[in-house]
């Protein structure tokens, strides 16, 4: 009996120690192992990011409609000034909602404005109105002038000025009508003006193309948004003169002067959008990638539109990437054909000659072919000194630059006259249009970046999230919220600035190299390291636990049998 009890005690002691070891391993070992092998993951604002996943964007435009003398009857005048707000909602798809809010203020013209409107031509009126008051970025001022006014030619209904003002010829109205009728009659025209001067729905949807399915974007705005170079805090503009034949042509171009007089005014205007730096180089013996074909009918060499795609590659190797900055580069190449390949003309898809003899490649730059063969006779002594007409060249490059920067060529509705921007290269309202679409594009890109980053980090639990990434993500989120709030308030300049900050922070977080460190730590290596330790340790524990469980079960069965 004593032996029996001694054995019982011994057995119990063995069982207890097995249980104790198992408990130590589970309570102490496992958490320790978990803690020491854990990857560091900083906190991310997931809830705010998931809110950004469905984008509700409200764009507010301040519109001022000014009635000049003779467009309202005296009793109608008494009711102005007044203001109205109108909202339009477009559900682009399940996740994107666009709301446009037009806050329209109606008032009568001041005396000085009346004076300005009494100028002989619309251009002068535009200038003096601009001198009187400068309207805020993103706003539109529409002056309603009487039908009988001589400011505009007879068939012109609307004149859009160089700045943010438009002149609108009032429709003839019975003077007895109430102000409401006048306003409602005016409304469609004002809407057309706003669509021209600030943004149109199609353009905004095009700017959202990062977020929505392609089928929802109209082809035209898609082409526009694909052609324009992506939004970036800075751009490098490089002009390259390609002289494949320095033995025959000694070329001189006054690029410094040309940049100063043609390109710089436009870039000065665009400073709110990005920093630009301009440089130029001359490349000798740089040839195009395709051999032009000689066409007997015009006795000239021709390049087909289909072969243009192959032109750039060999040249690109010579252009050299920009060593000193990482901004995207816009290349403008001026190609002077060799003496024995001159003249060279570009043909479009309809086999017609292109009048500008130039083409551009979306998001890359433009190439212009400049023939010089008629500048010297057959008896000329080689190399011939040739001065390049920079006005002709810069006209083409300026047009290409505008396209690549996303300054869309707006097709005005019938009856509209657009004042050409003149030496500034860009009208204020064109800049506004660009700002609107750029802000929306930035917001769209930054939200996709941030949401996909959050999704990725959520899915792959191995990735280390450092504090700096978390900080970038949260600053991107706050900038995005600020940008959306500014768009809602109608402060276009601030909205662009915040959206730029958002895109910068989100890209920096997304492309941070520290995210890649532990991404591909393979599982088999992990097992190779753990198995030699864990297998011999866990097998006895598990076995003895199983044994204990079995014993307990056995005892219970015995007890039940005894009871029976």
């Amino acid at each position: 009996m004593a032996a029996m009890t001694a054995m019982e005690i011994e057995k119990r002691r063995g069982r207890n120690s097995a249980l104790a070891i198992a408990a130590v391993v589970i309570l102490l070992g496992l958490p320790l192992w978990w803690k020491t092998t854990e990857t560091y993951r900083a906190w991310l604002p997931y809830s705010q990011i998931s809110e950004l996943d469905s984008l509700q964007l409200q764009l507010s435009v301040d519109v001022e409609v000014v009635f000049s003398r003779g467009t309202l009857s005296p009793e109608q005048q008494k009711k102005v000034p007044l203001s109205q707000a109108k909202e339009q909602e477009h559900q682009v798809d399940a996740k994107n909602l666009l709301r446009y809010r037009y806050e329209t203020k109606y008032r009568t013209a001041t005396v000085m404005e009346e004076d300005a409107l009494n100028q002989p031509t619309a251009q002068e009126a535009d200038l003096s109105l601009h001198v009187l008051s400068e309207s805020a970025c993103g706003s539109v001022v529409v002056y309603v002038i009487p039908e009988s006014s001589t400011l505009l030619p007879a068939d012109v209904k609307v004149f859009v000025g160089q700045w943010r003002t438009a002149l609108l010829r009032a429709a003839p109205l019975p003077p007895a009508g109430s102000l409401k009728e006048v306003l409602s009659a005016l409304e469609p025209q004002v809407k057309q003006v706003i669509d021209t001067m600030s943004f149109s729905h199609q353009e905004i949807v095009g700017a959202l193309s990062d977020r929505i399915r392609i089928s929802q974007v109209s082809k035209e705005s898609l082409v526009d948004s694909m052609r324009a170079i992506k939004s970036s805090p800075g751009y490098e503009i490089t002009f390259s003169l390609l002289n494949p034949d320095p033995k025959s042509h000694s070329l001189h171009w006054d690029i410094e002067g040309a940049v100063h007089s043609y390109i710089q005014p436009l870039l000065n205007k665009l400073t709110p959008i990005a920093n630009f730096s301009v440089d130029s180089q001359i490349l000798y013996y740089a040839v195009l990638g395709v051999n032009p074909r000689f066409d007997n009918t015009v006795s000239a060499y021709t390049l087909n539109a289909a072969s243009l795609a192959h032109v750039i590659n060999p040249v690109e190797a010579r252009l050299g990437s920009n060593a000193a900055s990482s901004y995207p580069v816009l290349n403008f190449l001026l190609y002077i054909p060799e003496a024995h390949h001159s003249p060279l003309f570009i043909r479009d898809h309809g086999k017609k000659e292109v009048s500008s003899n130039a083409f551009h490649s979306p998001r890359w730059g433009g190439i212009m072919v400049y023939n010089v063969n008629d500048m010297y006779g057959p008896e000329a002594e080689f190399p011939v000194d040739i001065n390049i007409d920079m006005a002709k060249v810069m006209g083409v490059f300026l047009a290409q630059l505008r396209l690549l920067l996303g300054v869309h060529k707006t097709q005005p509705p019938p009856g509209f006259v657009l004042q050409s921007p003149g030496s500034a290269g860009l009208a204020d309202w064109e800049l506004d249009r660009l700002l609107w679409s750029r802000s929306v594009e930035n917001v769209a890109t930054a939200t996709t970046t941030i949401t996909s980053l959050a999704q990725l980090l959520d899915q792959i639990s191995n990735i280390v999230i450092n504090d700096n990434i978390a900080q970038q993500v949260s600053s991107a989120v706050t900038s995005l919220q600020a940008a959306m709030a500014e768009l809602e308030a109608g402060n276009l300049a601030f909205a662009l600035q915040y959206s730029r900050e958002a895109i910068l922070a989100s890209e920096r977080a997304f492309f941070d190299p520290s995210l890649l460190h532990l991404l591909y730590f393979p599982d088999d290596q992990k097992f190779a390291i753990y198995i030699p330790l864990f297998l011999p340790m866990c097998v006895p524990i598990v076995l003895s636990l199983l044994k204990i469980v079995n014993e307990i079960r056995q005892k219970r069965a015995d007890k039940l049998a005894k009871k029976d």
């Binding site: 193309s209 539109a305 010297y376 999704q455 492309f511």
Partner: protein, 657 residues
């Protein structure tokens, strides 16, 4: 999810492209093309924008369709822009198409090219190309930056202005220049890559600029200069003075680094050739065929940028970019013992024209030893001879001017040919020469020996010795001994900066007076450090390189040096500026060292893990057994005799005892 995938696709493309750009790309044009192809191909270029997937797929299936969308002839909008410009063009435009009345403005930059061929006494041929571009600009003004380039390469110009570089010298060398057999080279360079830069004294954070600059240069030259960091960068106090204008003396703005392990090959030559205005399409550069250039005993290419005087009056300043390439061909062994050579034999090309952009384009052949043409025949013969004082010696050169049509003769091609008639005499021993080796045994300590030879019969002269030793060789500076003619030689100037582990190397600079006709030996002992296992390179048993030591000296000249800078001189004789007639500047590099460090077995970490785990598991297993096993008192077993008896009884079928 699709967006996610596309995002990662973009990341991979980025990584891929960056790999392409930083790696030793075999051919730069090709890699650029492949990058370009990615851009043109719409399906790839739009991978970054998730919304446009479907479109990308469509266009990649129909190539032509894609091209139609991607390539637009610029037509609309131009007329408007032109109209807008008309007003301006009237003022600016000076009658286009009327080239007869047009006189070009004076060019702001000049380009010169020259090739010097020197038959060496060992039977080898030394060919040295030099290309010089001078860009007149007033770079002292910080705000006026050059952004419009004609002959000067844009990429280098941008680097200069972005990093406020005052002077930049970079060289890539394969092979070691044998001073004793070959004499002095025109432009000395150590094996591997060498980079030294003087920054403008307005730079605030020199180290940061230096780091970025090395990364950018490694991209431009497709070399591993990005491995330059604080562990192999030093700031010499006396050895590297600016070679151009500017009297910078504050060595805080100087950085010097060498990569002795760098292997130079075609991928470094291609970007170097791309910097030339004519590329390799015309002029002397057509001779640079890489199969031939790298089938040589010594190959050294360099880029030197420095500020110089615009003209001899020094009325203004200019940037001078000098690209040099020196090759030593071993034609003696490859030509079955014949020393005859020709341009075609060396380069497998002949010259047909000068670069049309060059203001001067000349080939010089050293004919000093051949005044009466009794040693060799040079064909075609040239009446033009030029005498220049180079490296303390008056040499005579036959000059071929490529800008003159008569040089090319009737065949329209110049193939210089040299036929030897007699044996050449002894060469003049170079006055200064140095060598270096590691002594000692075992993997714990060692000793670096540097031998400096002064072969001048009666003149003593001082030399500056610079040693930059990596931190993992721990120098014992108290063991530094300098002996010449078996007597201790006390240096008149010594500068030593001790190393910091994993941060900076040792820097030892001293000014030593070399007695006439003597060997001076500098020895210093070192201990080899044990590195962390991740710090070893992929082939640790190959050994670790220690860069060449640099010896800079003003060597007494036998003939009067030409100090008159007003004369138009060939490029090869105007690299180091001589200030006095009696001496000339020489820089000599010693051999790099290859030192073995104690190297562990690299499967060790896993072995250690397995071993410790096994030990732990065994110990744990026995403890566990001890703790959980139930112990019972066993009956003492019966004695052996009884057991045997029992077995027998069992067999017999009798009950046991």
């Amino acid at each position: 999810m699709a967006a996610l995938k596309l995002r990662w696709g973009a990341v991979f493309i980025l990584i891929f492209v960056s790999l392409f750009l930083t790696c030793k790309c075999d051919n730069v044009e090709n890699s650029n093309e492949s990058v370009r192809d990615k851009d043109v191909d719409p399906s790839a270029s739009q991978a970054a924008s998730p919304g446009e997937t479907r479109h990308g797929e469509e266009s990649s299936t129909e190539e032509v369709q894609a091209e139609k969308q991607q390539w637009h002839t610029t037509e609309f909008g131009i007329n408007d822009a032109l109209e807008a410009d008309k007003a301006d063009s009237k003022t600016l435009n000076d009658s286009p198409g009327d080239s007869k009345s047009f006189t070009p403005p004076p060019a702001k930059d000049h380009f010169q090219e020259e090739l010097v061929i020197r038959p060496l006494h060992s039977g080898d041929i030394y060919a040295s190309f030099q290309f010089g571009i001078q860009l007149d600009t007033d770079f002292e003004q910080e705000e006026k930056k050059v952004s419009h380039y004609r002959l000067f390469p844009k990429s280098l110009g941008q680097v200069l202005s972005k990093f406020s570089v005052q002077e930049l010298h970079i060289s890539f060398t394969q092979g070691y220049w044998r001073t004793m057999q070959w004499g002095q080279p025109f432009i000395p360079a150590p094996p591997g890559a060498e980079l030294w830069v003087w920054f403008h004294n307005t730079v605030l954070n020199v180290d940061e600029n230096w780091k970025e600059l090395t990364n950018v240069l490694s991209g431009i030259f497709c070399a591993s200069l990005n491995f330059i960091d604080s562990t192999n960068t030093v700031q010499p106090t006396a050895s590297f003075k600016p070679l151009g204008l500017g009297n910078a003396t504050d060595h805080r703005f100087l950085r010097y680094a060498t990569l002795p392990r760098e292997i130079v090959c075609t991928e470094n030559l291609t970007p170097w050739k791309k910097l030339l205005p004519c590329g390799s399409k015309a002029g002397l550069a057509v001779l640079m065929k890489s199969e031939k250039l790298f089938h040589s005993s010594f190959h050294s290419q360099a880029v030197h940028i420095r500020p110089v005087c615009k003209d001899w009056q020094c009325s203004g300043t200019a940037w001078e970019l000098r690209q040099t390439l020196g090759v030593v061909f071993d034609l003696y062994t490859s030509g079955q013992g014949k020393k005859d050579w020709s341009l075609f034999k060396m380069f497998s090309r002949t010259l047909t024209e000068a670069c049309p952009l060059a203001s001067s384009s000349k080939v010089y052949v050293d004919v000093t030893d051949n005044p009466e043409s009794e040693l060799f025949d040079l064909s075609p013969a040239t009446p033009v001879l030029n005498t220049a004082v180079v490296l303390g010696d008056r040499r005579t050169y036959a000059v071929y001017d490529l800008t003159k049509a008569v040089t090319f003769g009737q065949l329209r091609s110049l193939n210089l040919l040299m036929r030897w008639k007699g044996e050449s005499g002894d060469m003049l021993r170079p006055l200064l020469h140095a060598e270096r080796y590691v002594a000692g045994f075992g993997l714990q300590t060692g000793e670096i020996h540097t031998l400096i030879y002064n072969n001048h019969p009666y003149r003593a002269f001082p030399v500056l010795l610079l040693e930059s030793v990596p931190w993992y060789l721990r120098l014992y500076i108290h063991t530094l001994t300098i002996t010449s003619k078996s007597r201790e030689n006390k240096p008149s100037y010594i500068h030593y900066q001790p190393s910091k582990d994993r941060l900076r190397p040792h820097l030892l600079e001293m000014l030593v007076q070399l007695p006439p006709h003597s060997v001076t030996e500098v020895t210093v002992q070192f201990e080899r450090a044990l590195l962390k296992w991740t710090e070893y390179p992929p082939d640790p048993n190959h050994g670790f390189y220690v860069g060449s030591s640099v010896i800079s000296a003003l060597v007494p000249s036998v003939v009067a040096m030409d100090i008159n800078s007003t004369l138009e001189r060939p490029l090869f004789s105007s690299f180091f500026h001589t200030k006095e007639e009696s001496s000339y500047f020489v820089r000599v590099y010693t051999e790099p060292l290859l030192v073995n460090l104690p190297t562990p077995d690299f499967s060790m970490p896993y072995n250690v893990i397995c071993l410790t785990c096994t030990v732990v598991a065994v110990a744990y297993g026995s403890f566990y057994n001890l703790l959980t096993r139930t112990f019972q008192v066993e009956e003492p077993s019966p004695p052996l005799a009884k057991r045997l008896a029992n077995i027998i009884r069992r067999i017999r079928g009798v009950p046991p005892l």
